[in-house]
Symmetry: C2
Subunit: 213 residues, 2 copies
DNA sequence: CACCCTTATTGGCGCCGTGTCAATGAGGTC
DNA sequence: GACCTCATTGACACGGCGCCAATAAGGGTG
């Protein structure tokens, strides 16, 4: 017998664009964290979100577009984070920054790990740009944290070193979260010590770059 | 008019499996270095190698299989490299190791950059495994270079720190090769100083891990 | 030198995933 | 309650990939 409520309740709910967008994005973040990019079809995401597959294209253009948004959501340091840093000497602020970082990455560990290496297969200029931008923001945040944000001299090199330090941070975090070869305390120690060393030892003595071109 | 040589010279040359395999691999390494994974079709590689597309599947099984081999060929440190390290104190050996690393990566710069981040989009367990293995080998090589390869105590943590250091090495090299924000000398200085610091300062004082499980 | 026999290599088939487009209906408004 | 907007759907076409049987290159054997 036919469902008598068939013509009473709608077949699908109509949401505000922002709302629907966020909902799809949340599903995508989760799925991209669970499986590699190529193994997650847009059909999977659509099913998880309970919508038609083509709606994904409507909101994000392409599958890669959705992936890019997913990565961006995970790797970008919110501005509010750096505003809540404690006052105090270098060691204190570095400790707080490292602790904050470790808190965040351990919370979303699986998805974060998937995001930071850009997925793994398929080097892509757009993804690269998102990760770059995130590193850029991260580098600036670190400069604020260590109190070097006012330094204008040789700022390019300064930020480059900080971006490089981000590479260390990611790799060290991976040793903790993924391989379980280090514990949190050890990761903290490596990152804090290295950062302080970079600021106090390496940077002041860094040979100034001689441009050849 | 029909080509009179049609039945005289063969339509294609028949190579030894190893030979053909290497030829296809070389083309793949080049193309994967030029474009992102998803933008390189097996048809492109087959065309570049002058063979039928299905021959790729015959030799490498799948497209990803071919990609994995391509990455492996680029990121694995040959055993011969560590055997040629000079004698001398820590600073000397570290300098030589860093110099060797910078030589290699700058030589294949484009393909190497593409390989180390696993491509960019599509985090994949197999790729992860190849990069892991390469890091593993690299970590051991570094331990030999800094003369800590005989240390058995807390070896797990020791290698983990070295793998993490590989993350710094990659990121720093990227600042030089890709962004041109640091020059070779500066990269050298950052990597050498940090490595020495890790060996002399961090590791001796690294709190021993307390397993919770 | 002619034949054969191994196997490197090819061409074509079918499947799956993706992006596009016009049609549909949910839900607010007058 | 009718209309109108636009969020949402379903179907279509294209392209890439893996598989399989057919083909021919080229060395071995008489």
């Amino acid at each position: 017998m036919a469902d008598v409520t068939a013509d009473l309740l709608p077949r699908w709910r109509r949401l505000e664009p922002d709302e629907r967008r966020e909902q799809i994005l949340a599903c995508a973040v989760r799925l991209f964290g669970e499986r590699p990019y190529a193994d997650v079809s847009t059909t999977d995401i659509a099913t998880a979100a309970g919508v038609a597959r083509s709606l994904i294209n409507h909101y994000f253009g392409t599958k890669r577009g959705l992936f890019i948004e997913s990565v961006r959501a995970l790797v970008t340091i919110p501005a509010v984070a750096v505003e809540q840093l404690p006052e105090g000497d270098l060691a204190t602020r570095v400790d707080a920054s490292v602790a904050w970082f470790l808190d965040v990455v351990s919370r979303h560990s699986r998805s974060w790990l998937a995001a930071v290496d850009g997925g793994g297969v398929g080097r892509d200029a757009d993804i690269e740009a998102v990760l770059s931008e995130a590193d850029e923001i991260a580098a600036d945040s670190i400069l604020v944290a260590v109190g070097l944000d006012a330094v204008t001299e040789r700022r390019t090199e300064l930020r480059a070193v900080m971006r490089a330090y981000c590479g260390l941070a990611k790799a060290t975090a991976r040793e903790w979260l993924e391989r379980d070869a280090l514990d949190r305390e050890q990761v903290h120690q490596v990152l804090a010590t290295t950062l302080i060393m970079l600021v106090e030892q390496v940077f002041p003595t860094l040979k100034s770059s001689v441009k050849i071109n």
